[in-house]
Point group: C2
Chain length 413, copies 2
């Protein structure tokens, strides 16, 4: 077992990376900017310090490689992203990347070589802040980068094609970032949970079962606007009362589920929206996630049927459209087991939970088996300056990751 | 019984008055404008044609007087308003005023004098569009005009004081519009229902029981925003799910009431309002009306208690403020009876309903007993160009009003 203070080193590097920001007041680090460059240089230096060969790939990902007991072996790839949202926390992305480097550094310190290589990839853009398209770094690595996004423009009108060129990269050579399945034994990512489950379970780490797919719908109910004083309750076709019943039904449906289903109505708009007018039309969004596609799709049909029933009973016209859908990325059973074993060996109760948020594994699953370790974050708060991980939890996460690496067994086939 | 075609004359005059508008595309007729002037002149001419003495009073109301069988008798006052909302219908206000003039014209045609005078008042501003203060005309007549509103300014920065002066009226002499209780035997107003109840009852006219008072509240629920994917249902403090439950409770509570209670949530705002974020804070309005103050106040307390219970159970912070409250104006029992008798005599089933919308009677009740006759309007639509009254219903309303006048018995005391 490693005795170095992994947690302390990790926290120090989290702070160092967080100092690289577009503004002093808020942490912002966006794709293909000078902060991207500065962060990449720092991470490359850490990789080299840890005994890795390191370079920037064709899309700006930082890539470090620690050879196995022979040169050129397939690798266990570890990674996470180092871009941020606007006014971000310090831990979302960097924790996984820095923990992976810390593990390699510890192996290197001990002179330990394994029967496989280890690669650490820092993805250049997972959040998609600049070009409104997520997972750019991991899609390039997985070979699924959509060339049409090169023409996307940022808020200043700069296209991704232009930005890559200005950064010194060749937009026509992004394919060079793609990896072959045979090079990768697995992809394992450590990440903050971004939710309150581990805290509620009083556990520093957890085994991710899947990155939940999501279906988003846009609902619009149309009734009949009327004077709040003159239309008796029985004669109303109140679109907001209808929407309220739908929201209640979505919540009740998801609450009865024990398998990670979540449903959220995040946005609502009632028209005309005056105190003394019965709303004639209400629009709202629905976001449904579950750890398997079949589960989510079944839930979506049940919820849609519930909403249709409510609308029909209330004589409200219903328009319901799927606006977004992405599949579930299930974690590989063998990796889940190995992560659970590592957690148990570190003295914690292995606890499984789905990831409701998206991660680079959603792209990496096209080129490798995916495993994920979650680390507890305070109050479940993320994408916010208050995002926080205790040093002891960062340490626990890194120790689990290190133990996983040391005991890693590639899939038999 | 009158044989003249009251309905046809009324519809023709409704159209004539509707032609006086700020714009051709939308009906807009606002206090102390040239359209106010033109409409007043037209109405005064109709009053004189109907055998009345007519003048503009100190606030711009049109006032017609048809003497009784002796000069100087107390009057039965009839009336309604002739200002409009923006993009108004033609009937809201003018129907009552024009019907009253038609009744007097018919009495005059027959040379009929009654043992009391009849006055018809066209109120200059009921809607409050220009100075955001309603019932200006009837408050002046009731002697309850609030002098502080003279300093209110319209959208162009013109004060009511200036506008009155420009119109040729003396803002310091508004008191001259006030009437004494001893001059008025009663105030009776015919008005379109502005709701769908008479249509649902298949009746052209109805007896108003009261102008419902209203309580408006502003509610704010504060929970905890979170990622739509990462926070399990059981750990959420979703402000919108809480608001939805409140809206459902308000609707359910009011639906169980058989005595004219109505409750409306007309406006709602959820923050941050993103598809993939659990709403942390939701604000919404509540409008509660009932035909008696006691009934409304009891309902408000019950609803507030329901909302408090929901908020507490869901661990949501609740801020609940009364933003507006106005008392009920009950119609005088004697007048309700006389209106019901007149309806029955015209061959219709007397049907009672409250008025959920406000009317000049809310001000006139301070100086006279108030009675109201409602006339069916198509689909309950009002404050909209589609506002419509069938000619036969306008005729029925006028005949009921005429019969009421002819059989009117002042209160005994």
């Amino acid at each position: 077992m490693a005795n170095a203070d992994l947690g302390g080193d990790i926290v120090a590097r989290i702070e160092a990376l967080a100092a690289i920001s577009e503004t002093d007041a808020h942490l912002v680090r966006v794709f293909l900017t000078k902060e991207h460059r500065a962060a990449a240089e720092l991470i490359l230096s850490w990789m080299r310090e840890a005994g890795m060969q390191a370079h920037l790939d064709a899309i700006g990902n930082v890539c470090g490689r620690y050879e196995g007991d022979r040169l050129g072996l397939p690798c266990l790839m570890l990674g996470s992203h180092y871009d941020t949202v606007r006014d971000a926390g310090k831990w979302d992305g960097p924790l996984g990347l820095i923990s992976a480097i810390a593990c390699v550094a510890e192996l290197n310190r001990r002179g330990r070589r394994l029967p496989f290589a280890i690669e650490v990839t820092g993805f250049a853009d997972e959040e998609g802040v600049r070009f409104a398209s997520t997972l750019l770094g991991s899609r390039a690595v997985a070979g699924t980068f959509d060339e049409s996004t090169l023409s996307a423009r940022d808020a200043n009108g700069v296209s991704m094609h232009e930005a890559l060129t200005q950064f010194g990269l060749d937009p026509d050579a992004l394919g060079a970032a793609a990896r072959h399945r045979r090079e990768l034994l697995a992809y394992v990512e450590l990440h903050i949970e971004q939710g309150p489950v581990l805290e509620a379970q009083d556990l520093p780490v957890g085994v991710v079962t899947a990155i939940s797919g999501a279906t988003r719908l846009a609902a619009r109910l149309t009734g009949f606007a009327g004077h709040a004083g003159t239309v008796p309750m029985a004669l109303r076709r109140d679109a907001l009362a209808g929407a309220a019943e739908c929201i209640g039904a979505i919540e009740a449906f998801c609450r009865t589920d024990d398998n990670g289903l979540v449903g959220t109505v995040g946005a609502i708009h009632a028209a005309p929206g005056a105190t003394n007018v019965i709303p004639g039309q209400v629009s709202f969004t629905i976001d449904i996630r579950a750890p398997t596609d079949a589960h989510r799709q079944r839930a979506v049909s049940d919820i849609v049927r519930n909403i249709e029933t409510i609308a029909a009973r209330r004589r409200l016209a219903l328009q319901l459209d799927v606006t977004h859908e992405n599949r579930t990325a299930p974690c590989a059973p063998g990796l889940k087991q190995q992560i659970a074993d590592a957690i148990a060996a570190e003295g914690f109760r292995p606890f499984e939970l789905p990831s409701g948020a998206g991660h680079d594994g959603m792209a990496m699953i096209d080129v490798a088996d995916v495993g994920m370790i979650f680390v507890r974050c305070r109050g479940g708060v993320s994408h916010h300056p208050d995002e926080h991980v205790e040093r002891a939890d960062a340490d626990a996460g890194a120790r689990v990751l290190l133990r996983l690496i040391e005991n890693f067994r590639p899939r038999a086939d």
